[in-house]
């Protein structure tokens, strides 16, 4: 019964996961067939290529920046959408819209909106407004963090909305009787009750922004300036534009390693709190 699923999953997902490690020890320029070169790709990518470390730094900035933007907005949005007023339900329907667009669609939209010749900067009569959003190397990283957030905040908002709706209303009623205000309730009831959702959402956000590059690829027209060439994008460009699939595989393995470590760490952190909330019957 499970055989077809196992075959598909094994051949096209599990084997490639090990395959990427194998290819990282091979030289392969797409045209020929891969040949064994031992550790030389690793040596080259880690020690003879300073940009790897620059890209790692950019990746860390991107991941942390994305998290600091997405997590608070998604949490507040989730609480807001879980509220009982009718207009909030209507807004929630509209908040979802970014999830219907492909990354290319979003990329092209913002590319046009942030164009130096038309779009936002031409439409708004503010002199202080920059018009080189996508070419200014000090600015472009923050623009990417914003656009990626635009895409993914709605999804995490939904997770938090579902989480908030599981919190028993009686807790808030009791707190109100005790005279706790809205802010106090948010920090003393909502946040602790959402522990599990926070961990899930955080894992998805961090690991997601570690490997996601479609949007940056589109926004930079496939020729990323070095200011936003984060590791996954570096992997793609190295592999499929420079045709150095051995180097690219090394970068891919590094990404998988960081991703797994990150999820494991978050899993350990969540371990105790998860059990508590299970006991509480949540």
């Amino acid at each position: 019964m499970a055989l077809p699923a196992v075959l598909f999953f094994g051949i096209f997902a599990l084997i490639p996961l090990f395959g990427v490690v194998v290819i990282s020890f091979m030289e392969w320029n797409v045209l020929g067939s891969p040949s064994w070169v031992g550790l030389s790709n690793w040596q080259a990518v880690l020690f003879d290529r300073p940009f790897t470390w620059t890209a790692l730094g950019l990746t860390i900035t991107f991941v942390i920046g994305s998290y600091l933007f997405q997590a608070p907005v998604a949490l507040l949005l989730g609480v807001f959408m879980a509220g009982q007023q009718r207009y909030r339900a209507l807004l929630a329907v509209l908040y979802f819209l970014p999830l219907l667009f492909s990354s290319v669609a979003v990329g092209l939209t913002f590319q046009s909106l942030f164009s130096p010749n038309y779009g936002l900067s031409a439409a708004l009569p503010f002199d202080w407004l920059p018009n080189d959003w996508l070419s200014n190397s000090d600015l472009v990283m923050w623009v990417m963090i914003f656009v990626v957030g635009w895409c993914f905040v709605p999804f995490h908002g939904l997770l938090y909305q579902a989480g908030v709706r599981q919190i028993p209303q009686s807790m808030y009623e009791a707190a109100t009787i005790d005279g706790a205000g809205r802010v106090r309730q948010f920090f003393s009831i909502t946040i602790p009750q959402l522990r599990y959702t926070i961990i899930t959402s955080s894992t998805l956000m961090l690991v997601g922004s570690l490997t996601y590059f479609d949007l940056i690829f589109v926004l930079t027209g496939g020729q990323p300036a070095n200011a936003v060439r984060i590791l996954p994008l570096d992997m793609y460009v190295t592999g499929f534009s420079s045709y150095n699939l051995g180097y690219a595989s090394v970068i891919a393995v590094i990404l998988v390693a960081i991703g797994l470590t990150l999820s494991l760490l978050l899993n350990i952190i969540s371990g105790s709190s998860k059990m508590e909330s299970d006991k509480a019957g949540a």
Binding site: A13, S115, G259
Partner: protein
Amino acid sequence: MMTHTASTQSATPDAGKALNPEVPGFEHRDVKQNKVRRTGAPGEKPNLLGGLGGWLWLAIIILPIYYIVITSFRTSEDLRSSNQLLPTTNPTLAPFIKVIQNDFLHYFTNSLIVTLSTVAVVLAVSVMAAYYIARSTTLGGRRLFQIILLGIAIPVQATIIPVYYLIQQLGLYDTLWALILPQIAFAIPLSVLIIVNFVRDIPAELFESMKVDGAGEWKILTALVLPMAKPALMTVGIYQALQVWNGFLFPLVLTQSSDVRVLPLSLWEYSGQFGIDVPATLAAVVLSALPLLVVYMLARRHIVAGLTAGFGK
């Protein structure tokens, strides 16, 4: 149509709940909590700051969408001469016509073929695997579930190079198969997880009584599991369809020629091909999102449930 979808969806978990009060479906719980909260806090003073933030985020979400819609009705001369945030005074359908004339329907058909075949296979193999896992009492069954769950954490981007190699070796490069096969594989883990949770909620007595009546595995699967797991299959199907329809990385790496181009890749190619005719590119963006908008209006609850189902609990 919307109310119809909503009612069929909550009806089935209700039936399940009557049989097994311990384990209501997640959609049902959602609906119920919702009701409780709506009658919950009367006379609460309005949260002005929250409301303000809510409207502000709406503006951030809507502005780009509004911009592409109004821009797609412009001529490219109009784009540079007037204020782009105001609707044009002489709208034109020319950008849309240009997109249609540039094989849009061909790419649309490719996307449709890839999406429908991927989802059909994913649903079939996932429900079979889920039935096996949910009813399995052996160690092997549990191990298998753990391995499949691990699969949720495999980032597609990191495996794209070996997938590319594999597809090349199989002689499938630049075919629709190259898009369908790997996307089936990467859709399986989450689909199995969601369906397993649903199949586990089917009362064991139902399985027993069917066995007593002499029903084989296939009979049980088609006559009991399939009808009972229908809401989960809906959810999984719509969610995976959304993923495949919008997927960009696999088409980018695994296809090349315009014969097998799917919509997201076509947008990318259009933007290069149309160059400064930005309204035409944005018209393509609008057209590519329209089918999903229609699906969203018809089956919003399923899409929302699908998105949170794997991670919500």
